[in-house]
């Protein structure tokens, strides 16, 4: 096989001659590229001849280099190319189209941004409306609501999330108790750490963290699953068979999330109380005293209010996950984007709703 291409400069009849010899393939082009373009642009006042007589092999990458040399030095002439080299060069010349200059992106007017935001919001409301309609029509579409899907989703979102929820609850209880104990001890109020942590967990952190776990584990899974079905046209197939995707795909997942969220929340809260008790017992507070503090301080409204929030969070997180899947575009990237927007949307919605609940509970005096 011919040696890798070399470049040599010479003079002939007042012209500058660049001779390319050997094998100009993609590897040789990579080595020569910068040097060859620099050589071609040297001494622009004199004519340039690119001598290809010694060029034995030239592939399209090599041809791209030769054409780049020609472009770097307008008026440069090729000579001596063997027929197969000339053929590749001509084919490459015909194929090479200079990219058009990309026009600068026009500034987006403020009313367009607002319009796009409103369109997204109205899509969201439309989706909620569709979900509501699907729930109302469920009695007439019971055959489309597959219990097996509900159980599978409940298993995925609930049973399989139990170890994670327990671990998370235990760690949060430990951390909260430990962090609270240090400042409370300064005031001799060690025992009230139990009150503080218990109320925080039951009213706020239990449902909030369970919802974050649901969004991260199951909201993304729902979005990826339904998004893949959308990409594979399975959702279209359902529609053409007269099956409502909302009833068959979304409602079982929403129902599953709605059912498992209270259980996950209670488990997380229980694990958190255990974690808190470990820290407090370790610091010398008897278990009986901890129990008494919790029973005396925590109201039923704290517990049931937290559970009510958990139910709403679960339904919303599942609905957002399913919507992200249903609105996925084409291709594998679309599935990834759907999963991301499911998690982000689920967590943001959870926190916003938590704020709404805080105001509502305050107004109700709970």
């Amino acid at each position: 096989m011919a040696e890798a291409a070399t470049l040599a400069a010479a003079e002939r009849d007042g012209a500058r001659v660049l001779s390319v010899r050997g094998r100009l393939d993609v590897a040789a082009a990579g080595i020569l590229w910068t040097e060859a373009l620099r050589d071609a642009a040297t001494e622009p006042a004199r004519p340039l001849v690119i001598d290809l007589a010694g060029l034995e092999i030239c592939d399209t990458a090599g041809a791209a280099l030769l054409l780049a040399m020609e472009q770097a030095r307008p008026g440069a002439a090729f000579e001596g190319a063997r027929p197969h080299v000339a053929a590749v060069l001509e084919r490459a010349r015909a194929a090479l189209v200079e990219p058009p200059p990309s026009p600068p992106a026009p500034p987006v007017p403020w009313h367009t941004v607002i319009g796009q935001g409103l369109a997204v919001a109205s899509d969201g409301f439309a989706y909620l409306g569709e979900a509501l309609v699907a729930v109302l029509r469920l009695p007439t579409r019971l055959r489309q609501f597959r219990i097996a899907d509900l159980l599978r989703s409940a298993d995925q979102a609930g049973v399989r999330a139990v170890p994670l929820v327990l671990l998370l609850g235990l760690l949060i209880g430990l951390i909260l108790a430990f962090q609270s104990l240090i400042p409370m001890r300064r005031f001799g109020a060690d025992v009230y750490v139990a009150n503080l942590v218990a109320v925080s967990l039951l009213r706020e952190l239990g449902p909030l963290l369970a919802s974050v776990v649901l969004a991260g584990r199951s909201g993304s899974a729902f979005a990826a699953e339904i998004g893949s079905m959308k990409v594979n046209q399975e959702v279209d197939a359902l529609a053409t068979m007269g099956i409502d995707p909302m009833t068959m795909l979304v409602l079982p997942r929403m129902a599953a999330a709605l059912l498992v969220m209270p259980a996950l929340t209670v488990l997380l809260e229980a694990a958190g109380l255990v974690g808190m008790s470990v820290v407090l017992v370790g610091s010398g507070i008897p278990l009986v005293a901890i129990g008494n503090q919790i029973v005396a301080w925590v109201q039923p409204a704290d517990f049931y209010g937290g559970l009510a929030k958990a139910v709403v969070f679960g339904a919303v997180v599942a609905a957002i996950g399913c919507r992200a899947g249903l609105s996925a575009g084409n291709g594998p990237r679309a599935v990834g984007q759907a999963a991301t927007s499911a998690v982000v949307g689920g967590i943001v919605a959870t926190i916003v709703l938590d704020g709404v609940f805080a105001v509502l509970f305050f107004r109700l005096g709970l």
Binding site: D25, V26, A27, A29, G30, I31, W33, T34, D59, T60, A61, A63, A64, L65, A68, H84, A87, V88, E90, R91, A92, A94, A95, L96, V97, P99, G329, N330, G331, P332, R333, A334
Partner: protein, 249 residues
């Protein structure tokens, strides 16, 4: 005389106790368009996967551009595999990259070309397959025929002398399919490429193939090899005749 671009010797593939084919031997000369054909399930794609280093045959050897790929050490095999290009049936373009980025990827990984050169060469490859205007599009934004063309452009990225195409016509309309056949013949003529094509599209086979190899599931191996037009007109084998005359088995 130069070594054949591809040589398969005594190839066999078994899955458990089931033999897909055995004793498959063939050669593909430089500059040839060689078609592997046969009915569904006869092992066409399996044979292709063996040829491109993705599936070690149960028996036999594959010599790509003179080197036995399964006997070679991993670095040597990788070097040989970089000298072939493959177009998969689905195109297998990376959905998160534009067509230009898809074609540039092998150049980025395997060459020392500066970024401007990679961009220029990738645009040239897209121009070779008639997609110069589609460089900035994503695979999801183009038609099935364009996906196949883009996949060929990516297969051409490192200027391999040997290209493998798996079902290039699958799912395409006759006009687009004929355009792809024309592209294969032009690339062979202008760049001197060798093609190994897996297909069962009769029109494509007759349009592009210099020679073909026909596999048969029942015979568990090769039942014909040669010029497809002569096989169509002169073969005595009823299965070959049925295939070329589109008769029900």
């Amino acid at each position: 005389m130069s070594a054949p671009a591809l040589r398969g010797t005594g190839l066999a593939q078994r899955f458990g106790s089931r033999t897909l084919y055995h004793d498959v031997t063939f050669e593909v000369a430089e500059g040839e368009v060689f078609v592997i054909l046969g009915g569904s399930g006869c092992g066409k794609t399996t044979l292709l996967r063996q040829c491109i280093g993705l599936l070690m045959p149960t028996a036999g050897s594959i010599a790509l551009l003179g080197d036995d790929i399964y006997a070679a050490a991993a670095p040597a095999r990788d070097a040989v595999l970089r000298r072939i290009g493959v177009m998969f049936q689905s195109g297998a373009l990376f959905g998160s990259m534009t067509l230009l980025e898809n074609v540039m990827l092998p150049l980025e990984v395997h060459t020392d070309l500066p970024p401007s050169a990679r961009d220029r060469i990738a645009r040239l490859k897209l121009g070779l397959v008639g997609l110069a205007d589609a460089a900035a599009l994503l695979p999801a934004e183009i038609s099935g025929g364009m996906v196949k063309r883009a996949a060929i452009a990516r297969a051409l990225a490192l200027d391999p002398p040997l290209l493998f195409l798996d079902e290039p016509s699958a799912g395409l309309d006759p006009v687009t399919s004929a355009g792809l056949d024309q592209l294969i013949l032009e690339l062979r003529r202008d760049l001197g490429l060798t093609f190994v094509v897996v297909t069962h599209e009769l029109a494509s086979i007759l349009a592009i193939a210099d020679r073909c190899l026909m596999l048969d599931r029942g015979a568990q191996g090769v039942i014909a090899i040669g010029d497809p037009k002569r096989l169509r007109d002169d073969s005595e084998d009823p299965k070959v005749r049925a295939f070329f005359r589109r008769e029900a088995a």
